[in-house]
Amino acid sequence: MTPTTEERRRQFEAEALPHLDAVYRYAHTLAGDPTQAEDLTQETMLKALRAWHQFERGSNARAWLLTILRNTFINEYRRRQHQGETVDLAGLEPYHVFREVQEVDPEGRFFANIVDDEVLRAIGALPEEFREVVWLSDVEGFPYAEVARLLEVPIGTVKSRLFRARHALQQRLYDYAVEMGYVKRRAS
């Protein structure tokens, strides 16, 4: 039995719409600017509404929406995307920041002074494949297996990208905090 238009709409409103913010956030992360994020969000939600009959009820609606979003981005937006600055992830020393601060601020209290925009800029400056992993894992809270499925990469790749992306973010935000005087650089 196929649900009526009215029923489908009710289901969509109850199960998909609560994830609108998550879709928008990820769209912004992928596209890099609010205008494209809005377009991309709208297109994703439209596609999802049209394809609602394909959604497996009871499965993860947020993951389903983000998959549609990501495919839309890759197929229609990526080539238009402005390539901003990207950081170099080579040569990062693991857990360098903790070693730097363990004497002066082992609980990482200095992070509390860093504003949202600086964090989003730092994430935005990561190369795309690292940005996506850190976003899906650390912001959206998906388990490794779900991230791997969404990005169509092995779990080992998720782990290693996450490792490097977190270190790169930490290093950048630590440097920023030092510059702003939120934490003192260790005397060498």
Partner: protein, 84 residues
Amino acid sequence: MSAAPRSIDCREAVERLYEYLDQELTPEVRAEVEHHLRSCAGCFRHFDFERAFLRFLEARARGRGAGPEVKQRILRELFGPEEA
């Protein structure tokens, strides 16, 4: 009752750090890491620091949602003008 967790050193504990914080370890390995953390103040502090960083990251990055006007526009597009 299961056997006592295998003893691991700092290097092994730190190798599991993110998987531990991300709750991706099997119960046995998780118990090994916790066993180590109970007896190693240095690793305990390190794990605590990384946990604080991940919480900070999530809290800061989740703030960016679609504003109310954006949501209105999208709803109009999805369901027609009567939603506005």
